[in-house]
């Protein structure tokens, strides 16, 4: 499907989006500038999730552990070992790769509902382990990474990652890289095998493809991308806490991808951005309309999930692709 369309159209669209985000860095007011930086990092998390859920059709309820593997891989090495930004980021990626390889190896023996429960349980183990090793992780309270450590110097350039502009462009760089990687994967033979597995695993196996190896590769790639998001989050925003490993952070990427459109390359960004602003703005609105109702993001997330799955299972870009823009990757 996606392979039939011209590469120029695909890459052109994505390049245009990246250019737009770069221009926005200079146009956005301060508050929204910060929101966009955060959303781009979280969208990377959602893109990693989408690779496994959207394309390979594997619904995991434990991706918070891959995000946190990156978060803690970078955060712990920076706080306790005093590592610089680049080695710490690499440590986060390695942590995510090893964890997703191990989890994929075990969890992919199961399918369907069992896969969801197994991933959820492994994530729960990871979450509890963060408390068990509380002397290093400080559990819920978390760790703050010193400002002085969050700078990047190479070849005579000194970048302060705590300054909003540098942070925005660092987030954009990671986002663009992952976006292009995702697009390349989706257009590749590997990407099409994943879609084939999603549509009919038995038939794909009969055609001579090793379904397990392909799914394992997808799990590791997805885990590494999510870990990259986590490591970037730790470095750019300077906070590492156990909340990011809780079940809620496994469900959020699912929600973002469902909203934006599963199995679309741009859906994760659209979903993350919309959900962020929905929770952000509706909080104040609902407080004004219904004072004293103690409304939190819980209810909004819940209602959004139910409405999406009932009436809008393809998400925004999924619907756009189905109705209007057939070539959308």
């Amino acid at each position: 499907m996606s392979g039939e369309s011209s590469p120029a159209k695909h890459y052109g669209l994505h390049a245009a989006l990246i250019a737009l985000l770069a221009v926005l860095a200079f146009l956005l007011p301060e508050y929204h500038h910060g929101v966009f930086a955060r959303v781009m990092v979280l969208a990377v998390f959602a893109m990693g999730y989408n690779l496994l859920f959207g394309y390979a059709g594997l619904l995991s309820l434990g991706h918070a552990m891959f995000f946190s593997a990156g978060l803690y891989g970078a955060g712990l090495t920076m706080v306790h070992l005093g590592w610089g930004v680049l080695p710490a980021f690499a440590a986060g990626l390695v942590a995510g790769a090893l964890l997703s390889l191990a989890i994929g190896f075990l969890a992919l023996r199961t399918t369907g509902v069992a896969f969801m429960i197994v991933t959820m349980m492994f994530a729960q183990v990871f979450y509890l382990a963060l408390f068990y090793f509380g002397s290093w992780t400080r559990g819920d309270e978390g760790l703050v990474i010193a400002q002085g450590q969050r700078r990047l110097s190479f070849a005579g350039v000194d970048l302060d990652l705590t300054s909003p502009v540098t942070r925005y462009f660092a987030a954009l760089a990671l986002f663009s890289l992952v976006l292009v990687v995702t697009l390349a994967v989706v257009r590749s033979r590997f990407g099409r095998v994943l879609v084939a597995i999603r549509e009919n695993e038995e038939r794909t196996r009969m055609l001579g493809f090793d379904a397990f190896a392909n799914k394992l590769a997808a799990t590791v790639l997805s885990g590494v991308i999510c870990a990259a998001a986590g490591a970037a989050y730790a470095i750019l925003f300077g906070y590492v806490g156990a909340t990011f490993a809780s079940i809620q952070y496994s469900i959020l990427p699912l929600l973002w991808v469902l909203l934006g459109g599963a199995a679309t390359t741009l859906g994760p960004l659209v979903g993350t951005l919309l959900m962020f602003y929905l929770i952000d703005s509706s909080g104040d609105l609902l407080k004004a309309w219904l004072p004293g109702w103690n409304l939190s993001s819980l209810g909004i997330v819940g209602v959004a999930l139910v409405l999406l799955i009932l009436f809008f299972p393809k998400g925004i870009l999924g619907t756009v692709r189905e109705r209007w823009v057939r070539w959308l990757p």
């Binding site: 509902v113 819980l298 209810g299 009932l310």
Partner: protein
């Protein structure tokens, strides 16, 4: 306290855990067994049961036993009605697709939590036990109410077992579980059975919650642990197997009680969760179940 009495106390606490857990897990197991729906919102039906029990008991004046008894009847009924509505409005529209229903029940989980937070508040509140008799053992006194919880749970489990295996309703439910299409062809109203089973599963969780409220308090986030433990029990016992569920509840409840008396609860939870994940990976039919057809 010496080791012997200490172990006895741990075992008693474990049995109370098991009794409550068996009821909750049985509800989850029934829903999965008959409908093939993994109800992630199951823990929230438990929470709603507890919160509604507090509300009902606070409306009834007089002896605390009266309020408790009214709550024991009314709260599960309200929870059953809520479950019925969720089944009609959400699950049925999704045609019970396993993956969609999981996403939808996650949504319901958050909606119920939000509702409890809005209408009940963030505080934890207890319900007074119907009686405060203490059984005096040679080494320590033990709450008579906790022993009554074990008895009540055993009675309810026996009742459910009787209903499933000896009555027409149970026969219809088992037929639907065994083969949905054939059951429909034989004139069994499958969608009605599904609605009934979903409500029944939620009510079992609610009853378990009402029984626990005098021991632990009602709180809007209290559904998390029962959900996870019920998952563990249902997986170890084999999805959809009543006997396995009860045995596994005993196993998990007792070991949870005993381990957390002697070791840190976090480590106990880590080991239990990891073991269960491994059971699901290497023996998906559960320890007591038989392989799927």
């Amino acid at each position: 306290m010496a080791f012997g009495p200490h172990l006895l106390l741990a075992t008693l606490e474990g049995l109370v855990n098991s009794a409550v857990l068996a009821l909750t897990a049985l509800g989850l197991s029934l829903v999965f067994g008959v409908m093939r729906v993994v109800n992630v919102a199951h823990g929230e039906f438990y929470m709603l049961g507890a919160v509604l029990a507090w509300w009902v008991a606070s409306l009834v004046s007089g002896h605390p036993a009266l309020g408790f008894l009214v709550a024991l009847v009314v709260s599960p009924l309200i929870v059953g009605a809520i479950a019925l509505a969720s089944e009609r409005l959400v699950l049925r529209r999704l045609e019970y697709n396993p993956e969609s229903t999981i996403v939808a029940t996650i949504g319901l989980l958050y909606i119920f939590q939000q509702a409890a937070l809005t209408f009940y508040g963030p505080e934890a509140r207890p319900v007074e036990a119907p009686f405060s008799y203490r059984v005096l053992l040679p080494w320590f006194g033990y709450s008579g109410y906790k022993l009554a919880v074990i008895a009540a749970s055993a009675l309810l489990l026996a009742g459910t077992w009787y209903m499933l295996t000896r009555t027409k309703i149970g026969l219809v439910m088992r037929a639907t579980q065994y083969d949905r299409e054939t059951a429909q062809a034989f004139g069994i109203p499958v969608t009605k059975v599904y609605a009934g089973v979903f409500a029944l599963g939620a009510m079992l969780a609610a009853v378990a919650a009402v029984l626990t409220v005098p021991i632990s308090q009602a709180h809007y986030l209290m559904g998390r642990d029962p959900l996870l433990l019920s998952f563990i029990v249902v997986i170890i016992g084999g999805l959809g197997s009543l006997r396995g569920t009860v045995i596994a509840a005993l196993l998990v409840g007792l070991s949870d009680g005993i381990i957390s008396v002697f070791y840190t609860p976090t480590l106990a939870k880590i080991i239990a969760t990891l073991l269960v994940a491994m059971v699901l990976v290497f023996r998906p039919q559960g320890l007591f179940g038989t392989a799927a057809r």
